[in-house]
């Protein structure tokens, strides 16, 4: 059941983004920023955590979940270390995700060459 929830919720988020790409003039970069900010806000108003517990990877993998991750990291750091936590927390929480993206994309660029679109 976990897998099914992750699938349809993650799929819904992707579908919503695709509608934005197809129907609006928003550039891809702007859409990604929208996702991250929305995730952070949903995290702040305590909606995202229960959502993620229900949907698992379907909520944590899309960029919406990344926004929530950023929010959580900043909150924990501020609770622990005060004002400086604003600067500390975000990168600490997202370090794994960002490093993984960097390492894997670098490896991919070593193995594969860009190809023409069909």
């Amino acid at each position: 059941m976990d897998y099914i929830n992750a699938f349809w919720i993650g799929g819904l988020i992707c579908a919503a983004v695709q509608i934005l790409l197809d129907r609006t003039k928003l550039m891809p970069g702007r859409v990604m920023v929208l996702l991250v900010c929305t995730g952070a806000i949903l995290g702040a108003i305590q909606i995202y955590q229960p959502f993620q517990e229900f949907a698992g990877a379907g909520a944590s993998v899309p960029l919406l979940g990344f926004g929530n991750l950023l929010w959580k990291g900043v909150k924990e750091a501020v609770d622990k270390e005060g004002f400086i936590g604003i600067f500390l927390g975000g990168f600490k929480a997202s370090a794994v995700g960002i490093s993984a993206a960097l390492v894997f994309s670098y490896l991919a660029s070593l193995i594969f060459d860009p190809k023409m679109k069909k």
């Binding site: 790409l21 197809d22 003039k25 891809p28 660029s109 860009p114 190809k115 023409m116 679109k117 069909k118």
Partner: protein, 334 residues
């Protein structure tokens, strides 16, 4: 010689002696596929980068055009060439081995018109016997230049045009052939304040309208005096805007208008959205499709008016509008 406000009518019209078209796989699969001189299945053309591939295409197109006239690069007086990449690097690195004194140009997708205008003006003025005009574009290098590198795998909107991978080279001179360049109308920049770089056709249509009407007025002609009025890459959207703009000025070109971007790809089968674009679009279509019809006498006189969008990635990101330009070349069967 000087005609009207922006045009030149050559007293001794130079000849368009030969031309060559080199294209990539997708263009070879299109409606004009069999008409191109060379279709390269590998879009890297044996090179390491898209930019080097574009340079290789230019060199090949030049050599083919020169060879068809049984000449050598040493016989060419001046070369006029340009492309879409910043600092015109595809042209510079493409033609350097030919050793021909050259003028690097930028006219965006109107570069073929600009190069042909300058080449024919130089011949008519007596500055040389043979001049070469060349231009190119490449889908991979253009995407990297203006949008995102192909490796980024972004999605492209339906209003986007498909940059043609192709190079066209044209030999202009005094030697007799069956096509003459009898006049040129040099375009001026026309800017309606549009900022949407995903809708190039709309940005360029005003310039096309301006140059076409200027050509008709300078030469005291009506649209029917041309078998075809051919724009470069207005695409489906830009064409309808052009028709509206022309109708507003009381000119109707619906019956004899043609657009290279709409001709070079099959919109249904090839998923090319709003049509082909890029310097190579007009150049290769001119060489492979339009010139043969003029050579045979199927068409007697056409107005070739490629359009360009004169933006840079910097100007676009800084919120500037996208101005357009269009150069008109009058080609006649003889």
């Amino acid at each position: 010689m000087v005609k009207g406000i922006q045009s030149i009518a050559f007293e001794q019209s130079p000849y368009l002696i030969s031309s060559a078209s080199v294209v990539g796989k997708k263009e070879g699969e299109g409606p004009l596929g069999k008409m191109f001189d060379m279709v390269e299945e590998e879009d890297l053309f044996g090179e390491n980068t898209w930019e080097e591939a574009e340079s290789a295409m230019q060199k090949e197109a030049c050599l083919l055009a020169i060879g068809k006239a049984h000449l050598a690069p040493e016989d060419i007086r001046y070369l006029f060439g340009g492309d879409l990449l910043r600092q015109g690097v595809a042209t510079s690195l493409g033609v350097e081995e030919l050793g021909i004194p050259m003028f690097g140009l930028f006219g965006a997708c109107s570069t073929s018109g600009e190069a042909l205008a300058l080449a024919s003006m130089s011949v008519a003025a007596g500055y040389g016997e043979y001049m070469l005009a060349v231009t190119s574009s490449h889908f991979g290098s253009a995407e990297k230049e203006f949008r995102f590198p192909l490796g980024y795998a972004n999605q492209r909107p339906l209003s986007a045009q498909w940059t043609v991978t192709g190079s066209g080279a044209f030999l202009v001179g005094k030697k007799r052939s069956h096509v003459r360049i009898t006049g040129v109308t040099v375009g001026k920049i026309v800017d309606y304040g549009l900022k949407d770089s995903q809708n190039m056709g709309a940005c360029m249509a005003p310039a096309a309208c301006d140059t076409i009407i200027r050509n008709l007025k300078d030469f005291d002609r009506v649209p029917e005096d041309y078998n075809r009025i051919i724009t470069g890459d207005l695409g489906y959207v830009g064409q309808s805007i052009l028709f509206d703009l022309m109708r507003g000025k009381e000119y109707d070109i619906k019956k004899n208008h043609m657009d290279c971007g709409m001709t070079i790809f099959d919109q249904q089968l090839q998923d090319t959205h709003a049509g082909g674009s890029g310097c190579g679009c007009a150049a290769t279509t001119l060489s492979a499709y339009i010139l043969p019809k003029l050579e045979r006498g199927e068409w007697q006189r056409v107005l070739f008016v490629p359009t360009g969008a004169l933006m840079s990635t910097v100007s676009y990101n800084e919120g500037a509008s996208v101005p357009g330009i269009a150069h008109g070349i009058v080609l006649e069967h003889c």
